[in-house]
Symmetry: C2
Amino acid sequence: MAKKPTLRDVSEATGLSSYTVSRALSNGPDVSAASRKLVLKAARELGYVPNRAAQELRKKSRSSVAVITASTSNYYYLDLMKGVQRVLRVSGRNAVVADIAAEGVYTPEVEDAIVQDLIQSRTAGIITTLTLSSENVKLLESWDIPVVFVDSAPPEDATQVPSILTDNYAASMKAGAHLARHGYTDWLFLAYPGRWSTRAERERGLQEAATKHGAALRVLETENDSDSACKTLSSYLNTPGRTLPRAIIAGNNPLLHGVLTALKQREIVVPTQVALMAFDEFAWAPLLDPPLTVVDEDSESIGVLAAQTLTRILDGQLEAERRGDPPVPSYRPEDRREVNADLIVRQSCGC
Amino acid sequence: MAKKPTLRDVSEATGLSSYTVSRALSNGPDVSAASRKLVLKAARELGYVPNRAAQELRKKSRSSVAVITASTSNYYYLDLMKGVQRVLRVSGRNAVVADIAAEGVYTPEVEDAIVQDLIQSRTAGIITTLTLSSENVKLLESWDIPVVFVDSAPPEDATQVPSILTDNYAASMKAGAHLARHGYTDWLFLAYPGRWSTRAERERGLQEAATKHGAALRVLETENDSDSACKTLSSYLNTPGRTLPRAIIAGNNPLLHGVLTALKQREIVVPTQVALMAFDEFAWAPLLDPPLTVVDEDSESIGVLAAQTLTRILDGQLEAERRGDPPVPSYRPEDRREVNADLIVRQSCGC
DNA sequence: GCCTGCTTTCTAATCGTTTAGGTTTAGGTT
DNA sequence: AACCTAAACCTAAACGATTAGAAAGCAGGC
């Protein structure tokens, strides 16, 4: 098409002013049924499609929410998104995902760039699975963009910011207790870096369980992807004098994948030679060899909770703006929530 | 923040005009080093962040491309995205995914709504894994938005539109030949709906192989998600007088999940009672019980190819626009490409 | 002193919408 | 006839950036 039709073209075609056309197209008041029909017909015939950029520039209300994730190949995020989408859809907003570790590794520079980008596009609100830097949280706050933390905790000085966290400490205790019941006393926790705040809680819970039940816990840290996990575990087991632990706990889904491939390469059988447990339930867990015992966070309902909290805040901002007040996000104490996680016992633990 | 700083604020703070400020911030020419430094400093101090909507409205060049998928839980798309992202990143564009079957089911209305939405946001280009309606392809064309089809074929009357397709016919023949070599003569193909054009090719290849090797092929259609697949297969096997086939071929990744859960429920063991094969390789395939024989499309490199084709077209449009020509996408015959798929033989087929 | 050419800067129009505030019109009341 | 009301519509000013086109400043050459 040589020239894309604009509102003005529709206006000229119908003989009505841009005001009336705009109202007609957005189903607003102050338009007669006859005019509305006329406008819609002309718009269709001309192939008019409104320009989102112009709309957003003019009206202040933004409508899309961003979900910040690290490594989309983690099943946890897929379920989370499902929950988020379901809630946002009904309030007419939409979610986009911003993958902060798209290339596999996290860097503070990428974090800054993504936050910068989200401000540029005047995102309505943010749900983040990563602990953002204190500076970035403040920056977003200064732009009146509400943030909800899921899975990862907010930075320490952001005491008001909402969060939906899992009680990873309790969950890890449960996991440890189960291992102890099997009589295993030699555990290895393969962990992602401490940048994700769940890491510390999970380690703390396992440690507590270990000392309580007289077991020994070793912690092995790796980058947050399958390949690194596989290599880290392999080279750990390769170092002479190292004994195979009786039980391995994989810190999350990609790490589990790394562990399983490493074990398969060395033909170590689960659970007879090593017991295996992992954090984060996912669709293929029951179909693995052997079916996997996991700590289940129910990430979909966490997504629902997070999205509900965010929509409430966003609606509050809209309301304030209509009153003429500044649209500062209002956080409530009950927006800081902690949910439980359960152990789904299958066979990889030895059951 | 009470009032968000705009370019104008930076301009007033520095005493320079908006022109100079704009140039300085976008690293353009025509601005002295001293002014540039001054502007950057002021911008930082004020906490200025450019308004994307205003930028996009003013300059014509759009920079984000959309990938249309159906059901993000299909691993195929994750790998595809990885390839797409990698290519786009270097040309300074970014990819967003538009999930057309977010709620699980596809409807033409959702397709229309998504296309409408992509035009509204003046998306630079589209990579789609779904055969769009002929009308939508024409609509996008009239807005000069180039489209590249991957996996699914373009509608029949869109003879110019680029596409990266897999030779599913040949791949299915290979798969069938392998089943025949095992001596299986009774095959069941669990297929997603024909809306995805690969369905027909895959069925045709399997059918051809079946007749060639004297086997019988039954085709069972199901909706394109795990749950439906599980239910469909279960009720198929439940109908009295139905015998268990000797081999099952799952049409794609979610369907495979459905098949495995259905088989597990009825305690049918693979591969001794039924052999199993599936389309689309994915990370967990080697770790399933038993390790899965799959047809591998190498979706990551398909993503790379698609993104390369699209960037070439987009660059061409930019070039044309600079010359003052209309930015119609120019398609080349070699943009219609077909890639091969291989069989990755593991153990679920009986090997 | 005038002209030329170069760099740096400014002015003002523009992109395509929405909307505050005002005006017209039709119809009803008194 | 004079006045009022509400619905329907219009005019024109935003929103916040980019960018032609014009202009100012400066150096060097004649």
